[in-house]
Symmetry: C2
């Protein structure tokens, strides 16, 4: 999963409204921009995460764009379908077939609300991974995730459930860059399961504590989207520099922990 | 929403593996079958529900198929995107834009795990509806949905949250056809909010109790997928008869309750 001396994941949340290349970029301009971002960040990243929302905005053409992006990355880096799928049995199997077999993603994000039936169908191929949404950093995470069940927040149940399901060692957790304390507790409970940590950069999560707590005893991929994609004047140089800068910051936190990234 | 003397929703879960038209039906054969199903059930249904999983199986071509199906229904019936979306803020807005504005669906199913931030972006247009997943009928619903929070199952929190958000009267709940007792409790808590009840037919839910408890003081759409789509020899007559049969059964339960369907 990591041959790049990096734990940086760049989120390809391509948003026409934030681009400066044109006032109303065409789909072709969005596609060109995406390829440019991949070209100039490839050397700095471990993975790319595609948030399906930004693609589905364009209907079936957006879905074709997703397939083109995975093809363009062409297995040079780990690819995560941030599709937040949450259905069971036959439906979940069809989603898994689509995302893993047809589109060729390495991993997918999955929503745990329907329980293990919603996760299991994605786990049958040990070569493909699942990041289950555990604790998110939005304000209304408190509506369900932080509700107390036997004196513990509900998301602890998710950690336990995913640990139970991790027979093939292909499960991970999505843990928002929130309070370092919560991240530390989840790391202790989850053992060495990989984490995917979004919310860094424009979304305000703290990079240093996320890297430190997430990587104590397991790997944590750090996802950055807007702060890389829309860096500076959005040229290859600005975007590439922003990615290198995040890679270096992450690696220097790891070095202070006496850890280096494998590879 | 209902001009058809019916509370039946037919789920378009088109599964090549269950079709008898050919041993490996082409995408065109699946599309033809879908149109035939719509033609011969139109007079018996209030709504169609498209489970995105069965379409996404075919990648971008499946997504184009979704758009073609909505276009073919052409507002003659209420359309529900069973996409179980579960993301927040900007991402949720893009999903809403795609499903409501671009594809033209009337309603969408949404997953509540990330809290109200995951629901609100779908509610801004009072003409478009959201069915939030509340209680599902799969076995592992117990993993999270039935966990006790202050002595009440977690899904009660979902009912409260959705009631709070229902300013424009465009919220509903997905409640699986499970124990009549639970359905009855949710109906009491939810007031007159519309329900979408899947799990009838091949999935084993009891039709009579679902119709009765779901429709006490509010409308409940009853979704049937496999038992209609793959009825008998899968001809227009068999499928049309199966839909009419469900419509009649539902209406006769309502008549015994001294209720009729508006329209």
């Amino acid at each position: 999963m990591n041959s790049s001396n990096s734990l940086l994941c760049v989120g390809l949340d391509i948003d026409a409204a934030r681009m400066t290349v044109a006032s109303s970029p065409t789909l072709q301009q969005l596609k060109d921009f995406t390829r440019m971002v991949i070209d100039c960040t490839m050397d700095s990243v471990a993975a790319y995460k595609l948030n399906f929302a930004f693609f589905e905005h364009y209907g079936w053409e957006g879905f074709r764009w997703i397939e083109e992006v995975v093809e363009y990355i062409d297995k040079r880096r780990f690819t995560i379908a941030d599709a937040k799928r949450g259905d069971i049995s036959n439906s979940a199997k069809h989603y898994a077939m689509s995302i893993f077999d047809r589109m060729g993603f390495d991993a997918v994000t999955v929503n745990p609300y329907m329980g293990r039936d919603a996760i299991l169908p994605f786990l049958s191929n040990p070569q493909k991974g699942v990041f289950v949404i555990c604790l998110t950093s939005n304000k209304s995470a408190s509506d369900l995730q932080l509700q107390l069940v036997n004196d513990h927040p509900l998301y602890h149940k998710v950690v336990e459930m995913v640990k139970d399901l991790n027979e093939y060692d292909n499960c991970g957790l999505v843990v928002g860059a929130t309070q370092p304390m919560e991240l530390s507790h989840i790391r202790q409970a989850a053992g060495d399961m990989p984490f995917l940590i979004p919310g860094i950069g424009a979304q305000g999560g703290d990079l240093e504590s996320s890297v430190r707590e997430g990587n104590k005893g397991g790997i944590a991929l750090i996802n950055v989207s807007r702060s890389v994609l829309y860096a500076g004047d959005q040229t290859e140089k600005s975007i590439g520099d922003a990615a290198r800068d995040y890679q270096n910051k992450i690696n220097s936190v790891l070095q202070n922990m006496d850890m280096t990234v494998d590879g």
